[in-house]
Assembly symmetry: C2
Homo-oligomer: 253 residues x 2
DNA sequence: AATGGAGTTCCATATTATGAAACAATCGGA
DNA sequence: TCCGATTGTTTCATAATATGGAACTCCATT
């Protein structure tokens, strides 16, 4: 075993990580069993984490994240933290596709971008960070409708181009396919010459909380949408995995 | 020096706490100097915290809170974390006064309770957690107006009792006093027989983000408002202190 | 009353964390 | 361009600590 002079810190951090990732109270015994450490070592390290406000115990003695985590969370918008966690994944997608990558969340009945990686091409999608668009015209929006993160609209829909969906029946029809294949696409529905694909991102309790998408000129995108969809689904799953609670009863797939 | 078998963990946690409390990038040298540890020890412990996703380094090598904090914050509402951090302070005020204690934040143009400790008396203020009241009728609301957390209303104001403020001029007049003394009071302005006091809570960047208040029957409260105000200001300062960024340039008063 | 489980404390000792010194890289001033 | 100072990293002898098995405490169940 190599010694980098921080074994105790590594072990304590391992226990801490189990608690933060579980995101619900976790017993001493569960931590002892999952960590593989001796009982006395586990007890001592947990006591140190508690003393330093990284963990605390509930009324039943189970452990949960401590005040230092609460302090950090009190000062930071959850969505910007999701964007931060997603950053390397967005960059990977950008590197793989060269196109503009976005992460978006539902807000009321619209879609809001919370992170973007710009295209490496000179002809690329604009900065959508401050732009609100009709959800049914975007791949990101279609995903959020399909996975119940946005309520489906009714009646006639605003058409931004001749290719836009025009009725809620058209949208409802696509929703079933999107749920089945696990991604959505738009072909010049938001703007002539602009195509996009998007896939869902699940939060810690299994609901879809965001959509991960790529957009770019139809001339480059059109023939690749059938590959982009699965790629985005894969990366959406990876981000979902980061956000998912991890403990024994639910497992890490 | 007593040995509880966790000195390395305590030291690592001390460094981690400096970074999380600073809430902006902090250099190796600053951490080394503030911690009192040897350079090599500081370097090794920071590397271990980085490896375990508790810290990360920015492009300039400065340290900031790591992905585990981002994960926690991504999953938790900031306001509920503020309430959690405030919990022991609310309980202290409840113990000292016996009255109902509330923590409230601005939401749009109203006041929303985010935490409450109930009165120990049988005659106590109701559970306000789900109730929206006109801000100008509550001590909490007056504090949020006075410290720019809520925009001052104009024109005539809704009067819930004969004692309620009826014009924005009346409110504006009180605002100057509230700013000067550091707390607000209401005397049967929300409901006949109900008095209250409140003081501001500052967030990490110096703005008022919440108000901390006590309410109860006028028969018990009326003669004590001049003591409750300063008490709430003191506890509001303590909570502000918990939330404030702490680093060298700003100091910890 | 006995037993088993959850969790804590003790302490001999094996192992690790420590910090001074050396080193490397960078920056600013002359 | 050179030099000194500063920032940060790595090495390694050794002092100090973290370890884990055993014993213990407390509690719930039979």
């Amino acid at each position: 075993m190599t010694n980098n002079g921080a074994q105790a810190v590594d072990r304590a951090a391992q226990l801490l990580t189990l608690v933060v990732q579980a995101d619900e109270p976790i017993s001493f015994t569960e931590l002892y069993e999952d960590s593989g450490l001796a009982r006395s070592t586990t007890s001592r390290l947990l006591a140190a984490l508690e003393t330093n406000h990284l963990l605390e115990r509930d009324a039943n003695g189970a452990y949960r994240s401590g005040a230092l985590f609460a302090l950090y969370a009190a000062r930071h918008d959850p969505w910007s933290q999701v964007a931060r966690l997603a950053d390397s994944i967005l960059r990977d997608i950008g590197a793989e596709t060269g196109e503009t990558v976005n992460l978006a969340i539902p807000s009321g009945d619209t879609v809001v971008q919370i992170a973007q990686v710009d295209s490496t091409y000179m002809l690329g999608a604009r900065d959508w960070m401050q732009v609100t668009v009709p959800a049914h015209c975007s791949a990101l929006g279609k995903v959020l409708y399909a996975f119940d993160a946005l309520a489906l609209p009714s009646g006639r829909l605003e058409q931004l181009t001749a290719h836009s969906l025009s009725t809620s029946d058209e949208l409802t029809s696509q929703v079933a396919t999107i749920r089945r294949v696990g991604y959505a696409v738009t072909r010049e529905e938001l703007e002539i010459g602009l195509d996009a694909a998007a896939a869902p991102v699940y939060g810690s309790n299994g609901d879809v909380i965001a959509a991960l998408g790529v957009s770019g000129p139809s001339t480059r995108m059109r023939d690749n949408l059938d590959e982009l969809g699965p790629l985005l689904r894969k990366h959406g799953d990876a981000l979902s995995q980061l956000l998912r609670r991890r403990n024994r009863t639910k497992g890490v797939a």
